[in-house]
Amino acid sequence: MNLRIIGALVAKDLSLFFRNRFFTLVTVLGLVVYMVIYFIMPKTVNENLEIGLYAPVILPVFEQMQEEGLEIEVIESEELLKEAVIDGQYVAGIVLPADIMESFISEQKPRISVYFASDVPEEIKDAVGVLIRELAYQQTGQALTIEVSEEILGPDMLGMQIPPRDRMRPLFAILLIMTETFGLANLISEEVERRTINALLVTPVSVKDLFAAKGIMGVSLAFVQAALFMVIVGGMSRQPLIILAALLLGAVLVTGIGFLIAALSKDMMSVMAWGIVTLIPLFIPSFSIMFPGTVTGWVKVIPSYYLVDTVHRVANFGAGWGDVWLSLLILLGFDLAIAWIGITALGRRAR
């Protein structure tokens, strides 16, 4: 292999890539759009039900109920409470009647008014109703004969929940990496169609030099963008080396896929067609991170699972090499297999 030749080929490919307005635009715009989307998404998670309470009489259970996930704030008047509910400060406003204690003592059912803004979903209204009933049971001293034992499975994220935008980080990273597949595949397929690849091979350039150059170009384009994105959105704050290793392996994976698509395609349209068919399954694992519990174990047969899972665990939970080495190893295995298939298919097409 000749490094000087490979360098020249990479420079030529990069220049050709950025000469294509579509792919240049998609590359730059994609990076900017993902960053904008990331930064406009909320950076915190509101875990609590915020409820306002107007109580002319002191009702200890209601006023002191500050369980996890529940914030009850006492308000001075019913009017102020209504305004606060309309303004969205509280999800509900509870008004206790002045004679509530007398009603409890005389075993009558007091009527509790609950104000909701009109756009509050029904399930929240129902949940607040359930909560008030439970508080009333407790206030009237009605004991519950069951003992509830609780076991928390997985790391307890109470008070430090992962914001949706951080859950989406692996999706953004993989989208950026995957977009490059189109560009690389289009570039190679054009070379094959126009027979410039054959012209190159009659020069001192060897097949190995050619594939090495294409591979380096594909990997660098995908890797640099994803790494840049992760740096800017703070995804490298924990274990940056592992994230970089995962992104690099991801970039190798999409380069292999790019070779495969190029071998199957004739023009940009067929690159898009094959690209979409190939890439949709690769996005699925990201959804298992964004919407936990929606995807079952079969997702592990998709190579990109090991990329998004590693990025998610490392960036959001601070996992170390010991936790993710197996995922990285499996990803490397997929990389080698797919790159080999891609190079073989492309080699046959070029011949």
Partner: protein, 353 residues
């Protein structure tokens, strides 16, 4: 213009179309997006906490849980299954009801209920589920709630579910993907392959070719718009009015497609323009998704006059009198665009008739 020749050209477009990636793309993509959106926004984005249950006996709690509206429930067969579901986040809390639970509770015996909590579950979800479980157990023993609750709704803002907020975007995608892309790519392809020049040396005029390609876009766009409305159960209220609106929208899409076809050199440029120009088409749908944005901004976009009547009819049950003004504006825009397409054709030397 010869109707016969237009018909023959249209037939050719329909025969050749399915071999083209764009043709398949505009047919499949809106349906796939619609299904994905309805899954993601219909069920996944609900704020309801999820309770998983394993019943080791035959507790009446299971039936009571199933009737709850404030939480989603899922049943599992074994403790290992529910633990797996909790660990994966499929449920917020998994509850194991032991055998003989009901009778123990009825007799006032101290009974243990095992629950597993997903570590990433939100605090409010945990609280809601805890009080829900306590409430259910109390109800199962015949305890009567010591209070009556009166719900009072304040303000007139209406909560629009996400799957409804997304309908305009889906409709626009369905109408404009097919209506715009098919005529545009078809013309550009012919230009790239120089087959257009071959065609116009026959008695076929450039007008015949453009009308045939435009009709293809209109038909496909109308079809896809209808399919999306049916899939989203939004077609039943006033189908004739909706068809009229979709047809006017399809005409607008096809006109824009022909305009792109006349002015753009290659597919790459078309995609590049679509990336930026798409915001002009989908702007009103994005504004509709977020009620916090002043809704008058939507009126600055031409597609508003297609979307607003569709939303009025399908989601608010409005009639002709409520949408007439916007429909006339839409028809007017269509007429103006016809003029622009003809002007663009005349100005472009390549297509000079």
């Amino acid at each position: 213009m010869s109707l016969k020749r237009v018909g023959i050209l249209l037939g050719k477009e329909f025969l050749q179309g399915p071999k083209n990636f764009i043709f398949i793309w505009v047919l499949v993509l809106p349906i796939v997006i619609s299904l994905v959106f309805s899954l993601v926004f219909g069920t996944l984005f609900t704020e309801k906490p999820t309770l998983g249950v394993v019943d080791e006996g035959s507790s009446q709690l299971v039936a009571m849980i199933g009737e709850l509206t404030s939480v989603d429930t899922k049943e599992y067969d074994s403790v290992s299954e529910i633990k797996q579901a909790v660990e994966s986040g499929a449920v917020d809390i998994g509850m194991v009801i032991p055998a003989g639970f009901d009778s123990s509770v009825m007799q006032g015996e101290e009974t243990e209920l095992t629950t597993y909590i997903w570590g990433e579950s939100l605090a409010k979800n945990r609280t809601i589920l805890r009080v829900t479980i306590a409430n259910l157990v109390r109800e199962s023993t015949g305890q009567e709630a010591p209070v009556e609750i009166e719900v009072i709704t304040l303000g007139d803002e209406v909560s629009i579910p996400w799957n409804e907020r997304l309908l305009p975007l889906l409709v626009l995608m369905a109408v404009f993907l097919g209506g715009l892309f098919l005529p545009a790519t078809s013309v550009i392809n012919e230009k790239e392959k120089k087959t257009l020049e071959a065609l116009v040396v026959t008695p076929t005029t450039i007008g015949d070719v453009f009308v045939a390609k435009g009709l293809l876009g209109v038909i496909l766009s109308l079809f896809m718009g209808t399919v999306i409305l049916i899939l989203n159960q939004a077609f039943g209220v006033a189908p004739v009015l909706l068809l009229l609106l979709l047809a006017l929208g399809a005409v607008m899409a096809a006109e824009l497609g022909l305009l792109c076809g006349a002015l753009i050199k290659d597919i790459t440029t078309l995609f590049a323009i679509w990336k930026l120009g798409g915001i002009l088409l989908f702007g009103p749908a994005i504004i509709y998704m977020f009620p916090q944005i002043p809704q008058w901004i939507g009126k600055l976009f031409p597609t508003y006059y297609l979307l607003q009547p569709i939303v009025e009819i399908s989601q608010r049950g409005s009639g002709w009198s409520d949408i007439a003004t916007n429909v006339f504006i839409l028809a007017g825009l269509d007429l103006i665009l016809i003029g622009v397409v003809v002007f663009a054709l005349r100005r472009t030397r390549q297509f000079a008739v």
